[in-house]
């Protein structure tokens, strides 16, 4: 299976990356080169093989739902590209 430039454009949209024409072209070639590796997995029959998403037994770690001290608001907003009072400012989201 080979990705077309249109498909790469669509993946870029899903990834929230705006690619230049040159980047899209290069990316299409490179992604196709890399995905040639993926075909090797077709050599293996994995019917009934459990997938591994984590190597250690995972369970939710819960704690009592009690209020605890958190970072001061000013410390957190210190890194904000743009702030408005105690909030992060972003461009209009809803019309």
């Amino acid at each position: 299976m080979r990705l077309s430039q249109q498909e790469v454009e669509h993946i870029a949209l899903l990834s929230r990356l705006k690619l230049t024409d040159e980047e899209r072209e290069r990316m299409t070639t490179q992604l196709n080169d890399i995905m040639r590796f993926y075909e090797q997995l077709g050599e293996l029959d994995t019917t009934d093989v459990e997938p591994t998403s984590h190597v250690i037994p995972m369970s939710n770690v819960l704690r009592a739902d009690e209020a605890r001290p958190s970072l001061p608001v000013d410390d957190v907003l210190e890194n904000a590209p743009e702030r408005a009072g105690d909030s992060f400012r972003v461009p209009r989201v809803v019309e």
Binding site: S15, R16, L17, T52, V55, N79, V90, P91
Partner: protein
């Protein structure tokens, strides 16, 4: 002869050497070699000197601090450090100053270590050469025209260039072990879950692990002692007792059963280089000489680690890196986006480098509707087969010894235009991450004046046996004692040693 971290800690505790004196010597060494090596992206000299002075004051007051108190350390720039810019060597985090400390940073502070600065790395730890740093590459101290490996290339180079006696690295597919091998130093990737990932900037969360890097095994063991242990702030942190690693280092290895996995020497018809194979086989004979039993073992699914890794790691990365959107912290496009989607797209386009974009794209594709089963699910199933290979090998072996890299350190620029070639260079290290196993890289020889690494892989949570075997090897063979000065014919950094062993000065 160089002062190890263990010796330095002992001298500082005995008040025969001050932490300030040692820290000044490291900072001086950095000033001498950084122009050539570029291991650091930020030097925190004021912080280091104030930490060192504080340790000296506490020592003078008779406080009994740990064995590494007052010893300087280099930190990979991927660990959140309160008040110190933490960039992951990415434009998108160029101005980020964390409001909190990673758990390992807190532990290092508690143990009294002195922070020299933040080391260079591939952007978001994605790479095998440190050439993907937004702030320029690091050069291998053994040969400045060659890469130090990656992604913890800055940490490995800082050790090799004698700028720091200790360093922290992180390892998602080999990022501690491969640079350790390329720079002739010692680096351990602990068992997945052994060290807390809280405050580590996430790349691939099921694979990432923080670990110690040093110039010998004892120093690595002492540093692991500081890092390891359960942390309620990391839900994948393992609640298992942490043994006293230094206490078992000198135990005999003659009861050990060592396997040499055949497939680590040949990946789909291409064999590791002759120098690497010779060094690893010679190392196996060293273990035999020490009384260990050695035989060949098979891990057949190693032939699939490259596609499995380059599906799973980008899939996790595409999700983890979704948070860089220009809203709460990090870079935001100055271009004034019309709406929030444009804000995301412009910010990410400007902030991420090419390798990071490639992996986000690969991961987004592998997880997208209609392809999930064919790629991510399939890769996760093959990951199970890789794990089972190791479970089987460890039924009748205590350790596996293997190459770390298929070749000697390559030249800067040699693989940058060919991501596929760069990816294949990880073939020997990825499997330990897939199976969550502890694995160390130690120097095992030199060819053409360049270092060769030996990998020792252990059972889950059995870092103690890995360290014991690696220590025994370093007692039997002296490869770890060489510094770039000893590489004739190579244009490496001169090892004018700033922190010589005091008694021999």
């Amino acid at each position: 002869m160089l002062l190890t971290a263990a010796e330095a800690g002992r001298l500082i505790a005995a008040r025969e050497l001050s932490s300030v004196e040692l820290t000044r010597a490291c900072l001086e060494r950095m000033r001498t070699v950084e122009g050539d090596v570029h291991a650091f992206v930020r030097v925190t000299d004021d912080l280091a000197l104030s930490q060192a002075a504080e340790i000296d004051r506490r020592m003078a007051a008779g406080e009994n601090l740990g064995p590494l108190a007052g010893v300087p350390i280099a930190l990979k720039d991927i660990l959140c450090t309160r008040g110190v810019p933490t960039t992951c060597c990415s434009r998108i985090l160029e101005n980020y100053v964390p409001p909190y400390d990673a758990t390992v940073i807190q532990r290092l502070k508690q143990a009294g270590l002195v922070f020299l600065g933040k080391t260079n790395m591939d952007e978001f730890a994605m790479g095998s050469s440190t050439e993907n740093s937004a702030f320029g590459p690091t050069h291998n101290p053994w040969d400045l025209a060659r890469v130090p490996g990656g992604s913890s290339g800055g940490s490995a180079a800082a050790l090799a260039a004698l700028e720091a006696p200790l360093a922290i690295g992180t390892d998602t597919g080999g990022s501690i072990r491969q640079p350790a091998a390329f720079c002739g130093v010692t680096g351990l990737k602990p068992t997945y879950g052994r060290v807390s990932r809280y405050g580590l900037v996430a790349f691939a969360s099921s694979l990432d692990q923080i670990g110690p890097m040093a110039r010998d095994v004892r120093d690595c063991a002492l540093l692991l002692q500081v890092l390891a242990g359960h942390d309620p702030l990391d839900s994948t942190s393992i609640a298992a007792a942490v043994p006293d690693y230094a206490a078992v280092l000198e135990d005999s290895v003659k009861d050990l059963r060592v396997g040499v996995p055949t497939e680590f020497f040949e990946y789909r018809g291409s064999r590791v280089s002759g120098e690497v194979e010779d060094a690893v086989r010679a190392a196996a004979r060293v273990f035999e000489g020490l009384g260990a039993a050695c035989d060949e073992v098979s891990t057949p699914h190693l032939q699939y680690v490259i596609p499995v890794y380059y599906i799973i790691a980008p899939a996790e990365a595409s999700s983890n890196l979704a948070r860089y959107d220009g809203v709460a912290y990090g870079h935001r496009t100055p271009r004034g986006a019309a709406d929030v989607i444009e804000l995301y797209e412009e910010t990410r386009e400007e902030g991420f480098g090419p390798e990071v974009k490639r992996r986000i794209m690969l991961g987004t594709y592998a997880l997208s509707a209609g392809y999930y089963d064919a790629y991510y699910l399939k890769a996760s199933q093959v990951r199970t087969l890789i794990r089972r290979d190791f479970e089987k090998a460890f039924e009748n072996h205590d350790l596996l010894v293997a190459p770390v890299t298929p070749s000697l350190p390559f030249r800067l620029g040699e693989k940058t235009d060919d991501p596929v070639q760069m990816y294949i260079s990880d073939v020997c290290t990825i499997a330990a991450n897939m199976a969550g196993l502890p694995a160390i890289s130690i120097p095992a020889g030199y060819a053409d004046g360049l270092p060769i690494g030996l990998q020792i892989i252990g059972k889950p949570l059995d870092e103690a046996t890995v360290l014991r075997a690696a220590y025994a090897f370093q007692q039997a063979a002296d490869f770890h004692r060489l510094a770039p000065l000893d590489a004739p014919g190579r244009d490496g950094v001169r090892a004018v040693v700033a922190w010589e062993r005091r008694g021999q000065r």
